[in-house]
Amino acid sequence: MRHNDQVNNSAVGLDVGTSRICLAQRVRDEFQYETQLNAFVTIPFSKMTENVLKQEKVPHTVDGPDIVVHGNESDRFADVLNIETRRTMDKGVLNPAEPESLGMLRKIVESLVAPVKDRQKLCFTVPAAPLGAEDNLTYHEATLRRILTDLGYEVKSINEGLAVIYSELESSNYTGIGISCGGGLCNVCVAYLSVPVFSFSIPKAGDYIDTSAAAITGERANRVRIVKEDSFHFNGFFADKLQQVLGVYYDEMIQSLVQGMKQAFSNSRNLPKSNRPLPIVLSGGTALPEGFRDRFQKALVETDLPIAANEIRIAADPLHASAKGALVAALADA
């Protein structure tokens, strides 16, 4: 955490995503962000490697015969060493298949969030319950709460989709639909005058695209993600097979998202048909490719949703929207 005299120290926002963890602070009237990849790699210990990591200020931990590199640099090491990064989280919550998830999540969080002594407000994002499945977020949320409380903060959580609304829909008095297309999940929230009235998540998001495309092309999922984030876009001709496959799985994800919205809205007995359209904001790293908005809009138009949209747009800062929303919520609570 940067310590700056201009920082409004009354509150902090933290977006805890499957792929990335992002810290938001307000400096004067501006929002500032710091992000770490929510991943790590293990490399064999050597004194020289450790010295280089120290010299380069790469976040790492020595763990017996291994050095664990976590955060942003883990991606580069994984690519160089041709190995997969390990993930502390999967589908929006702590990764049950990763034995080091808790410890590494704490390390990554601590690399962003400095300890405080004055019970500063901190608001962190949590996913919504998966559509059609039971809410299984208690352990994940409690774990994060514990980590952050140990750092001295007064902690509260916020639904990730709602955080998008708090970040982007000020102009409609925080009324509308916020969608965060992240790594593990797509989170959807409907709010009216800041009150969350409806939220759910679907388990198809960036990681699903990466692993599915990796399985087809024989690439590593990590490599697929890098290509996807660097060069993929919609509405283009691709000679490259990976790009073609990415397009197929992106479309499938968007269809799942829209069908999920339809199902969620339709299953609600208390949801009469509305003639007042709502704004929809898309955010998250998975919403970044050029043409994503148009493809989502097309899918939405082809689906008979009970709620009409008057605007569909990408968030002004898609990678930081959830963190900003969490910060706005924390500041409002401060």
Binding site: N173, Y174, V190, Y192, V195, S274, V328, A329
Partner: protein, 393 residues
């Protein structure tokens, strides 16, 4: 829950839109909306679904648009539109100019009257009641329970629903519809319940002559520009629709009834020079002196078709029981009403606060003073009624 101020969402939205700082705006919305929902529903974890239901009630409200709302309801109506007691309470930016219709009697027989606007009144079931000679009216700027002004002409109309049995409205149900209609006439006639009844087919029956009092309004309060009316049986005419209250988004009256109400209202307004702001629903005027809450009766609380009947949407008017006599309202009443009536409740609440501030009093203290005033008026009315009874016996 009692005593929690329930600000309509429309006003909350408008006020929030003026707050530039996103954090401050969110803080305001969270404070007002969440507190409001919690007050209504008690349990915060029920907020999401119930809140959504309210959202769509609002969304489905006919004519609800940000722009149109802005035009109709200024940001701080209490300050700009509503004066302290003694001034005009019928603000020109809420109601359009009041034009009295021109309707006259065309034909009259023993059983029927026909009017120039097509109204036909069936007099076969008229049953006279106590004669209206004089009724008391209180001056808004100086309520004096012992010195009211006395009037004899009807000053307004209160619309009711009979809440009677309803057969399906179709040709194959004719016999049943007529049978129920006849039974309803019998009941309201026996009890002198209303001056007029509009049946399911839109037929207008005079039940109690306008020269007499009908037992339609009970404990009730309304006010116009200068006068306050208390217990409206004598001062206001009662018109009942043979219907049951439907949900907010469902009409409680069929087109034949709405048409009949329109031409009947035109005739009564023409004959008695009734201001449109004095044409109101039972829910708007009904009070309960035992708990000092408005809305003891909730017929036509949310979906009265004012505009279809040729009137301004009087739900926007603040209930005088609140600002003149310190009555309160509870979440049950708000929940029973549509957003249209909440507009008036909020204005009344704002006005009450403005009045209290103008006198340098806390709202609770000012409310207590107003309530005491109401009780004095009520006591005077009871004394007058007792004296009248004694005189007659």
């Amino acid at each position: 829950m009692h005593g929690v101020r329930l600000i309509p969402r429309i006003l909350i939205e408008q006020r929030a839109a003026t707050i530039q700082d996103p954090v401050a705006r969110l803080r305001y919305l969270q404070r007002t909306v969440v507190a409001r929902e919690s007050a209504i529903y008690g349990r915060a974890n029920r907020l999401p679904w119930l809140g959504l239901a309210l959202l769509f009630v609002l969304i489905l409200t006919p004519g609800y648009k940000k722009s149109s709302v802005k035009a109709s309801f200024p940001l701080k109506p209490a300050v700009h539109a509503l004066p302290v007691p003694g001034a005009e309470i019928n603000p020109p930016d809420i109601l359009p100019p009041d034009i009295i219709p021109n309707v006259w009697l065309v034909d009259q027989s023993r059983d029927f009257e026909t009017y120039s606007n097509g109204l036909r009144v069936d007099n076969r079931y008229v049953k006279p009641n106590q004669r209206r000679i004089f009724y008391p009216v209180y001056q808004r700027d100086a309520i004096d329970a012992g010195e009211p002004e006395w009037r004899s002409e009807p000053a307004g109309i209160v619309y009711h629903t009979t809440e009677s049995d309803q057969a399906r409205f179709s040709a194959d149900q004719n016999a049943r519809l007529k049978l129920i209609g006849k039974a309803v006439i019998g009941v309201v006639q026996q009890n002198h319940s209303y001056h007029f009844l509009i049946d399911r087919f839109g037929q207008v029956f005079r039940i109690v002559p306008e020269t007499d009092v009908a037992n339609h309004a009970g404990y009730s309060v309304w006010a116009d520009g200068k006068s306050i009316f208390v217990n409206l049986n004598a001062s206001f005419l009662g018109i009942a629709f043979e219907t049951q209250t439907q949900r907010d988004d469902m009409p409680s009256a069929n087109p034949a009834q709405v048409h009949a109400a329109r031409i009947l209202t035109e005739m009564l307004r023409a004959r008695y020079r009734i201001r449109q702001s004095n044409c109101v629903t039972h829910a708007q005027v009904s009070v309960n002196p035992d708990n000092m809450l408005v809305g003891y009766h909730t017929d036509w609380a949310g979906n009265f078709p004012f505009r279809d009947i040729g009137l301004s949407d009087n739900y926007a008017l603040p209930p005088p029981a609140i600002y003149a006599f310190g009555f309160d309202y509870d979440p049950t009443f708000v929940h029973a009403t549509g957003v249209r009536l909440w507009q008036g409740l909020a204005l009344a609440e704002d006005q009450m606060q403005t009045q209290a501030a103008a006198r340098g009093l806390p709202v609770s203290r000012y409310r207590a003073i107003l309530q005491k005033q109401y009780k004095e008026v009520l006591a005077a009315l009871r004394r007058a009624a007792t004296a009248s009874d004694n005189h007659e016996t």
